[in-house]
Point group: C2
Chain length 303, copies 2
């Protein structure tokens, strides 16, 4: 079976832009919202508290996790024109944009903000220097930005929606969190009729072989992806050890806190579900009730 064509996806509400962004309306927007409600329902397994974070984060904060050295090729920044009057004068005196639609004659102000690369960074940064009294579970969704060599409708976007459940705690807390996360996800996708394979994976480091963190990930796999159709990661579980706890000075019991996360790429679920069930919304499974069933089954928080 071949996945739905771009024209078929357009009919159910996808407006795809070759720059790697998608607008959603109609059935496909409804499905995206249903997916997210299901993920939030799964987060209730840990009684995770919902947070909403800004679109960008100070580069200085991200550097506490070494982000810009690990992923300089993927980073997206927020920039503005230099506010100096002569610079704005020069910009306005020119064509503003050149023929390729690129800013012409623009002098930019110094850049200090990075557009959110992954939803969980905010969870750590917003708690900078805090001492935790015990394990904490948080869920948050954000638009995440990554430059890639090529973009593919619903599969690889420059700006996409990521829902995460984040655990902060001891090493044992995070290990138990990840165990339950995998169990819950297996049960959920089983009920939803999606066949997934778990695969150890590494983060997309720049020049990986020169990066000690990549080498470490090869020796001790900390990332496992739930892949659909052999190669599309639609969710992942990630063990951070104390990398973020140390970087963001989060402590627990006198030492750095450990962290872990369960992450969902919302648009990729739209790909998987339309690939599996087609573009007729009548055939799509109702996901939120399935997530509630998983919660009831696994005996977590309020289902």
């Amino acid at each position: 079976m071949t996945p739905p064509s771009l024209a078929e996806l357009a009919r159910i509400g996808l407006s795809w832009q070759p720059s790697g962004q998608a607008a959603l309306r109609g059935p496909l927007l409804g499905l995206a919202e249903e997916c997210d409600r299901a993920f939030v329902r799964l987060a209730a397994l840990w009684r995770a508290e919902e947070e909403r974070h800004p679109a960008w984060i100070a580069a200085e904060r991200l550097q506490r996790a070494g982000y810009l050295r690990s992923f300089p090729h993927q980073a997206a920044f927020a920039a503005r024109l230099s506010p100096a009057e002569p610079d704005l004068d020069a910009f306005l005196a020119g064509p503003v944009l050149d023929r390729d639609g690129v800013l012409a004659g623009a002098r930019l102000a110094p850049v200090s903000q990075v557009l959110t690369p992954a939803a969980c960074y905010h969870v750590f940064s917003d708690r900078l220097g805090q001492e935790l009294a015990g394990p904490r579970f948080v869920t948050t969704r954000n638009t995440c930005f990554r430059h890639e060599r090529e973009y593919l409708p619903l599969r690889r976007l420059s700006g996409f929606s990521m829902r995460e459940v984040v655990c902060l705690g001891t090493g044992a807390d995070t290990a138990e969190f990840l165990r339950l996360a995998r169990e819950a996800l297996d049960m959920f996708t089983g009920l939803a009729g999606l066949e997934l394979d778990w695969r150890p994976a590494t983060d997309p480091f720049f020049r990986p072989r020169e990066n000690p963190r990549y080498l470490l990930q090869r020796v001790d796999p900390v990332k496992h992806e739930a892949t659909y159709g052999g190669d599309l990661a639609i969710a992942s579980v990630n063990r951070h050890h104390d990398h973020f706890g140390t970087g963001f000075e989060l402590t627990l019991n006198g030492g750095p806190a450990h962290s872990a996360c369960l992450a969902f790429g919302v648009e990729r679920w739209l790909f998987a579900l339309t690939d599996r069930y087609g573009t007729d919304p009548e055939r799509w499974p109702a996901l939120e009730p399935l997530a509630a069933k998983v919660c009831a089954e696994l005996g977590g928080g309020p289902a």
Copy 2:
């Protein structure tokens, strides 16, 4: 009565960043979601269809509305590092960030995307060149970005949440839309116990007195703001005439379509509501039922 202090707002879930961004959790996040549900309910007056648009828009598209010449001082752009290996080498060989947290030694790639300045631009851009069969009503929410001289918690943000209801149609369609929008908003805020004043306003043009569009707005007020406490615009109604219809080649009955919008600044509603009712969530009005009442009263779409 003085508005809640930053410390009081922090206790109900505000995490304020001096760069003008806010994280929300707990009661304040709940209130933000309740506000948005109420706005969506009001949008049902026109059976507006929900759309979700990307975080940025091609500068070339925005220029169809003359955005960069009118608001160069407020624009935020999405940028990336130059992907050329020698440029990345030079960046990584340096400190990456200087002491002020600013990118150091970075060469940026050409910039062609603008972070969403107002939610409705996408609604026009996504329909570029379309011929409309009749009036269309759309609602969408997006994070909107504006550089300002100073930022104030919940009142003036560099990135904020804007919900809009957009009407595309004839001049008469948009006039009727705006009439009903003001009536609905008056009734809604009356029920919610918020006192608002309507004021004619102008958009924050760069060097306004040199901009013909500003001068036109002074002669023919196309923007009216619903202000709280004398100076805080928490909603506005905007008549665009055929400005966007012409710029984005949207036609109706053989001529350029007219457009208009009703816009809500979600964080500013949080300010107004906590200023009016304090920080105890028990005292906050349930807004969605009030919006449903307005819909039932004004006899629009499904309430």
